[in-house]
């Protein structure tokens, strides 16, 4: 009985970290209606950044947020300017290939620059915290707290600032938003950059938990997709809940079934959602049938 509890709690915690890295993707997905296939590589770049910052300055990776989050914001803006913005005007296949190409590009640049060696930071917490007999890694708990804080702040921004309203308007109807005087291309740019910044934040929390190597993004991007789809395109609460689901499913199935099959359950879960609730738990109705920029 205790085992199940332990598994569920661990699942929820790791799920929150997964959610944090997915929030950027769902925002971009919701506003630009574009799947950023290079999302995993953005995470990988950010993770290298956090690792390097931490190594160079001898500091705790969490402090890297000060540098990495703004750097990722700029990186996202740059990528948008050079690649994404131009691709949006073309048939939608172009964005797909452009982001996939970007993914391969970034993976191999990292390979050339950093080699395939795994990079790690030393553990932050000496040992796991024990709460009522359940063992919780300190790094995980911190990740959970950061995610919750981030979600709350984001929700506030979305609901109470003009930018947030502009974003919501663009998600619901880009054409109407344009007619209302919202500079939609600028919203796209800001959203893409903000999504990248969020990935930077996620990296700070993830580097203490996972090793960094050039193809680390591949492991996480599929998880992020499942979370975004489960939670509903464009929904932040959805990403959080989706993250929890995925974390628990992974945690429980990896223990009771062979770890190799853990991934299988993900994808089956994904396909089931696609069949029965393609709009996810919190997504807009009809989002799945809208597809791309229409």
């Amino acid at each position: 009985m205790n085992t199940i509890f332990q598994l569920v709690i661990s699942g929820l915690l790791i799920g929150s970290v997964y959610a944090l890295m997915s929030i950027g993707l769902t925002l971009i997905f919701g506003v630009l209606r574009v799947v950023n296939f290079a999302h995993g590589e953005f995470l990988m770049i950010a993770m290298y950044g956090v690792w390097a910052f931490s190594r160079l300055l001898g500091l705790n990776p969490y402090f890297a947020a000060i540098a990495v989050v703004p750097a990722m914001f700029l990186f996202g803006a740059l990528v948008y300017r050079i690649v994404i913005g131009a691709a949006l005007a073309k048939p939608h296949l172009v964005v797909v290939f452009a982001t996939m190409g970007l993914s391969i590009f970034l993976q191999n640049v990292a390979l050339m620059a950093m080699t395939a060696d795994l990079r790690d930071v030393p553990p932050i917490f000496a040992r796991s915290i024990s709460i009522g007999g359940i063992f919780i890694k300190g790094e995980l708990l911190l990740g959970f707290i950061v995610t919750l804080l981030c979600t709350v702040i984001l929700q506030w921004v979305i609901k109470h600032t003009f930018l947030g309203k502009a974003i919501r308007a663009t998600v619901q109807d880009g054409e109407a938003a344009k007619l209302m005087g919202i500079a939609v291309p600028r919203i796209f740019l800001i959203t893409f950059a903000a999504g990248s910044a969020l990935v930077g934040l996620a990296a700070c929390v993830m580097v203490p938990l996972f090793s960094v190597f050039p193809t680390v993004g591949l492991n996480f991007v599929l998880i992020a997709f499942v979370i975004v789809v489960l939670g509903g395109m464009g929904s932040i609460e959805g990403a959080l809940l989706g993250g929890f689901c995925v974390g628990v499913v992974q945690s429980v199935s990896a223990y009771y079934v062979a770890p190799a099959f853990g991934q299988l359950f993900f994808f089956l879960l994904f396909l089931l959602v696609m069949i029965f609730r393609p709009n996810g738990l919190f997504g807009q109705k009809g989002a799945a049938t809208l597809g791309m920029n229409e």
Binding site: A86, A87, V94, F97, F105, N108, L264, F270, L290
Partner: protein, 337 residues
């Protein structure tokens, strides 16, 4: 009432540059060169690349039926490739069924899988469809990797390298060139046939506007499933040919996202929805990626891919209609017939 336009003679119907629904001299010459290449045994040093170029041209044409003609952009076609390859190979190794028959059984198995994918994605469009196809292929890959008793698991399956025409193990590379060329021509003929048939028109209709198609009496789900099944079957056959050439199936390559990506990339670069586009895409990219890998792969790990992917991004942004699209723009505006 205006008079019906007079039907032009057969030779007049052949245009200079590629055009949907008409043969063109461009294609006739291109395919004639391919046949001559094989018949006269040109350039023996490049035979590996030629076999792969022909094979991938056929695979690109197969993907194009779903992706280019019907608008079903799938990044999971490696699943069908793998199903075809594994089916014929397992039938051969365990039940002594010749791959000349196994190739068709594999095609049927892949077609069924294609129909299943289509049903799963019945209500999906755009990125959701793409992601579902990716997930589908990943499920197939994980099964292939773990169902060791049947698929050989991570070790894969090997076919004895004993030349045996009756079992599709050919003695010379030239023979494989001929085999893959036949595959290419069959896929090309299939595409041309589609363009001129009612079913093909239905594919274009659901691609361009499936609401209007439904209002015209077309059942979108049926047409989509049929297109996907056909595309999957052809892809599966390519899988069998691959297995019979390399004589080894490695699940991490055969059902990989990289391979799925390749199947979509070649038609996109060559020109979606055209008959000649996928061929051009393969003839350009297959040798290029082999060349890059051979020359730069050793210089610095990953350099060839950096160049390859950067090139890809540039091509996509500046030539979104592919090579065939660029050719189309070269044509002078034809007087209406």
């Amino acid at each position: 009432m205006t008079a019906m336009p007079a039907k032009p003679g057969l030779l007049q119907q052949i245009s200079g540059l590629p055009q949907r629904g008409h043969m063109s001299w461009f294609e006739i010459i291109l395919l004639a060169i391919c046949v001559a290449w094989v018949a006269f045994g040109i350039a023996p040093t490049f035979q590996d690349v030629v076999v792969l170029s022909f094979l991938f041209a056929g695979l690109a044409l197969a993907w194009n039926i779903a992706g280019g003609c019907a608008g079903l952009i799938s990044f999971g076609h490696a699943a069908f490739f793998g199903i075809g390859a594994y089916t014929s190979t397992i039938l051969f190794l365990n039940y002594n069924v010749t791959p000349w028959i196994g190739i068709f059984v594999g095609a049927v198995a892949a077609a069924v899988a294609g129909a299943v994918l289509s049903l799963i994605c019945a209500r999906l469009k755009g990125p959701f469809f793409i992601l579902s196809s990716l997930a589908f292929a990943e499920v197939a890959r994980i099964i292939a990797l773990n169902w060791s008793s049947v698929t050989g698991g991570a070790e894969g399956l090997s076919i004895p390298p004993v030349p045996d025409l009756a079992n599709m193990v050919l003695g010379s590379k030239t023979a494989y060139e001929a085999l893959t060329l036949v595959y290419l021509l069959a896929a090309y003929a299939m595409t041309r046939w589609l363009e001129a048939s009612r079913f093909g028109f239905y594919l274009f209709a659901i691609r361009d506007n499936d609401e209007a198609a439904a209002a015209a009496g077309i059942n979108p789900l049926m047409v989509r499933s049929a297109a996907m099944a056909l595309s999957a079957a052809l892809t599966g056959m390519g899988g069998t040919l691959f297995a019979q050439y390399f004589l080894y199936l490695d699940p991490t390559y055969v059902i990989s996202p990289e391979l799925s990506f390749q199947f979509a990339l070649l038609p996109a670069v060559g020109g979606l929805g055209t008959a000649v586009g996928p061929i051009l895409g393969s003839f350009l990219i297959t040798p290029l990626s082999e060349l890059l890998r051979a020359n730069l792969g050793n210089a610095a790990a990953g350099l060839h891919l950096v160049i390859y992917s950067a090139g890809l991004i540039v091509v996509m942004l500046y030539f979104p209609s592919g090579i065939a699209g660029a050719l189309e723009k070269l044509k002078p505006r034809r007087p209406q017939r």
